[in-house]
């Protein structure tokens, strides 16, 4: 895979094992990009790995099909790539102590309403600089993080369409490289995921804490678009100004 040739900027020791939970739309795409960047990858659906053996062999060659519990247990980074309503079936204990990427979206217009994600009150509605206080409730990743109290949660890889994520990936320094947003409350976790984002082909755009992650959500200014880093930052700043 051509991704391999552009990923020599980080020592191998920094590529921990990815456990991707979800073998539907976005999971296999993230898995392929990560494999191309030199990460070992496990992938799991909701059931028996045998059910996704063919999918893994042909769509994500190089990954190992696993039970979700095994993929999570062995992973350094767990990627939540299932539909959000399926997340409610995940035992938070499986992810305890893990670095978790929330690549899911709460998208009622497309997937239906989930009462848990209709929470009108954010526990932390203001990002550090106060720029994203917009009177709406918690970001979906804050709600995910509340359920995963033992995990470090970073929102990323959710806002570029799954059909574009692979087409638009570029090596570091390419002039048509695009940006991908990263949001999280734990600086070390954010850096690890920013590195992953960089390695799979995007300039990481650190947008703030999980509360600020709402700008990456459906309805936010960068959802469903791919922009280069200066454009991305400009759009985020304009959005912040529009809320003050």
């Amino acid at each position: 895979m051509e991704a391999r040739q552009w990923q020599d900027r980080y020592p191998d020791g920094q590529r921990g094992r990815l456990g991707i939970l979800g073998a539907g739309h976005i999971g296999p795409v993230v898995a392929r990009l990560a494999l191309g960047a030199g990460y070992p990858v496990d992938i799991a659906a909701s059931g028996d790995p045998e059910d996704i053996a063919l999918i893994t062999e042909l769509i994500v060659p190089g990954a190992r099909p696993r039970w979700a519990s095994d993929a999570a247990a062995d992973a350094d980074i767990v990627v939540l790539a299932m539909p959000l309503h399926r997340f409610l079936d995940v035992d938070p204990g499986l992810l305890s102590g893990k670095l978790v990427v929330d690549a899911m979206n709460y998208w009622p217009a497309s997937d239906g309403r989930l009462p848990l994600f209709e929470d009108p009150v954010s526990e932390d509605p203001v990002s550090e600089d106060g720029a994203f206080e917009d009177g709406t409730g918690a970001s979906s990743s804050e709600i995910v993080a509340r359920r995963l109290a033992g995990s470090r949660v970073v929102k990323a890889l959710n806002h570029i369409g799954y059909h574009e994520l692979e087409d638009q990936a570029r090596p570091a320094g390419a002039k048509d490289r695009k940006a991908a947003g990263v949001a999280g409350d734990d600086p070390g976790a954010v850096e690890a995921i920013a590195r992953l984002v960089d390695q799979i082909g995007y300039d990481p755009a650190r947008v703030g804490g999980l509360a600020a992650g709402r700008i990456l959500q459906p309805g936010g200014p960068v959802f469903g678009v791919t922009l280069n880093l200066p454009e991305f930052e400009r759009v985020v700043q304009e959005h912040a100004r529009s809320l003050t």
Binding site: I52, S110, D167, P218, G224, V225
Partner: protein, 352 residues
């Protein structure tokens, strides 16, 4: 020359609401009458299949496409007619079977069904279904539909509709099971489902490079083997518009594409379409088939080859286009694009 009769070429519409030349929208009723004319004209132009996708909106006022297909059936004799797609999750599989079996009777065996969701979600609140149950509803109802297609009395029990006990469901087909496909938008688990149930694979590609779906065709083939089934066809569905020149096709299509995707973007919370992205999607690697007959034909031929598909369905037009420009597009597709694709595929095959 290689035999290219294995390939078939269709047109799909969602009942895109027409406008007049000044841009004023036509009524829903006139749009539906125009769709019937377009279907009849498609046969005259040499198109093999005409599909109508279920939608429930002001800009796609086409919730009962099977009724329009029946009107087309009564005025045609050769073209195959089907849904593209039927939103099975929010429908009753027994009623879907009965409606398309009736269409099959009227058309003397020309009916097909593509089951899926498409981008249509309006039917869920309309009929009291929860979108969050989508997968469960689809899986169970598709399984029942497969049972109904076998033709004998059906015994079935599930959670999404009342059970059936040795139930004879009419009308019986006189031409075997209605050809049925599952529309897949990129989820490999849906490919496995199609193979498990013995339905054709309809790859609905609306963005990005279609060639990336090539492994899905292989996945489908391998899954059919695993389930002990014989080969089944792969269909590619993609949007576009054909006009005399690339420039004219884009000038007619892009403003209407921009308008509708801007509207949908606002409804669903994603960013507006950009001209740059449209140009890329209309280019050789993208998923839009917008251009002259030669441009569109070359793109279809290369994608059919890349995907190992034997059928291509063009979802023609966009809401806000005129009936006349759609008819011109249908004529060019039938009389120029289809023969040219066959020629390209035969030449390529012969050159191998």
């Amino acid at each position: 020359m290689t035999d290219t009769s294995v390939y078939t070429f269709g047109l799909d519409t969602f009942g895109d609401r027409n406008a007049d030349a000044s841009g004023t929208p036509l009524s829903h009723a006139q749009t539906i009458r125009n769709v019937v004319e377009e279907g009849v004209f498609a046969e005259q132009a040499g198109v093999d299949f005409f599909g109508i996708g279920e939608h429930h909106t002001d800009y796609f006022p086409m919730p009962a496409g099977d009724v329009a297909l029946a009107a087309i059936a009564a005025r045609t004799s050769r073209i195959r007619l089907g849904s593209a797609v039927t939103v099975l999750s929010s429908d009753d599989p027994v009623r879907v079977f009965q409606r398309y079996s009736t269409l099959n009777a009227i058309s003397s065996g020309r009916a097909e069904v593509i089951l899926g969701r498409g981008s249509s979600i309006e039917s869920f609140p309309l009929f009291g279904y929860d979108l969050a149950d989508y997968e469960k509803l689809f899986d169970e109802k598709a399984t029942l539909f497969a049972e109904l297609l076998k033709g004998g009395p059906v015994t079935w029990e599930g959670k999404t509709r009342p059970a059936l006990l040795n139930q004879d469901v009419v009308p019986h087909s006189e031409s075997g099971p209605i050809p049925t496909w599952i529309g897949v938008g990129g989820n490999p688990e849906s490919v496995i489902r199609a193979a498990r149930l013995g339905f054709g694979l309809a790859l609905a590609i609306i963005g990005g490079n279609p060639a990336r779906f090539a492994p899905y065709s292989e996945l489908f083939r391998r899954a059919l083997e695993k389930f002990g089934r014989g080969p089944l066809p792969v269909l590619m569905h993609a949007p576009g518009h054909v006009a005399a020149t690339d420039e004219q096709a884009k000038a007619e299509f892009w403003p209407r594409y921009r308008d509708i995707f801007t509207l949908v973007a606002a409804e669903r919370g994603f960013a507006n379409p950009t001209g740059d992205r449209f140009e890329w999607e209309s280019g050789p690697d993208g998923a839009l088939f917008v251009g002259s007959p030669e441009t569109v034909a070359r793109k279809i031929a290369s994608n059919l080859r890349a995907l190992g598909a034997t059928r291509f369905d063009l979802k023609y037009g966009m809401p806000g286009m005129t009936h006349d420009s759609l008819l011109t597009g249908i004529e060019l597709y039938g009389r120029e694009v289809i023969p040219r694709v066959r020629e390209l595929l035969a030449t390529e095959a012969a050159a191998v």
